[in-house]
Symmetry: C3
Subunit: 140 residues, 3 copies
């Protein structure tokens, strides 16, 4: 069994949901060398997150941003952690609702996602800056 | 270290939360050949999802359906992605809240879940059709 | 490729969100023997969960508890599963929103988390009792 790992960064994206499938496979081209295996993408932050969802219509990603802004409101007077801006505590909560990693099987040298699946970077801060990731793939 | 992988389909289930632990272990009987390892189940869709929760009382699964229907309402006029039916955009959102995979350790040839844990297929569409999965297990 | 696995218990914590990064690495010291790999922590329960979030300011963890108590209310008359206390069904729902496992890459013998990341035990019951975990690490 082989294992490959790469750390990579993506420059700042604006708040919202962004497709990064291409950036992930570009960062770890050795995915192609694995016939049967697994790939994990991990984000090293607590106010941005990763999920898998529809890769086609961009309005899906806009509706994600709209929904989570309603579901996790800013400026709730009950927040105690509010020194870093009104978008900060909601960003932490959204990050845990989505999760800090995605795991995708590898089959015949490719990520075995469905036709409509893509990897989303979920940027929950207004100005989150560049983000760091670790992508790891293993198998044979 | 060994690795096994299988693609399988499940026929359409009605909208709601369904126990599929038996279907998963049936699809990959080689789990029995792994003493210490890991199993991942991945769903290749963006409007259905997977989670682990209580395997006993069916009212838990009914309450999941009730709760998420309230938490992610249909027909929000702010949805832009609404061409595929009122259940479509909420299905995408619920799918990311639950996640597209579950990961379970293998111990002594069995999924090392707790007594009350089972794998749920979360069908978020009214008519989702058959669903495709990839189950992968590795270890020694 | 090596694989290590350990079952461990943590004594009862009060309802809320608790940092357990130290307990996890203490339970599986062989993480240090892996140069490039992956670590999974799994909780064998359906009313407590695991997530990764900010490891510094304790008010973040208090705000998590506050937020999820609002987002998943107790005593909704529409709950059918209500025999085990008003905190029970909300605990199951919160557990699936957070998830039953976290996956962290290993790099140079250490969990490759970001500076501000830590592992949270999310205890959703008032009196959840001791909790059992399986931690597994693999790589080379």
């Amino acid at each position: 069994m082989k294992i490959f790992q790469q750390v990579f960064q993506l420059k700042e994206r604006k708040r919202g949901f962004h497709l990064i499938t291409g950036e992930v496979t570009y960062a770890l081209p050795q995915i192609n060398e694995i016939n049967t295996g697994m790939c994990q993408v991990f984000i090293q932050h607590t106010s941005a997150s990763l999920t898998i969802n529809e890769n086609a219509d961009p309005t899906v990603r806009m509706d994600f941003e709209m929904y989570f802004n309603k579901a996790v409101p800013e400026n709730d007077p009950d927040y105690q952690h509010d020194d870093e801006g009104s978008d900060d505590m909601p960003a932490h909560i959204k990050a845990s609702m989505m999760g800090s990693s995605v795991m995708i099987p590898i089959r015949n040298g490719r990520l075995a996602m469905g036709t409509w699946q893509g990897i989303y970077l979920c940027e929950h801060r207004n100005y989150g800056g560049a983000r760091s990731f670790v992508v790891t793939a293993w198998g044979e």
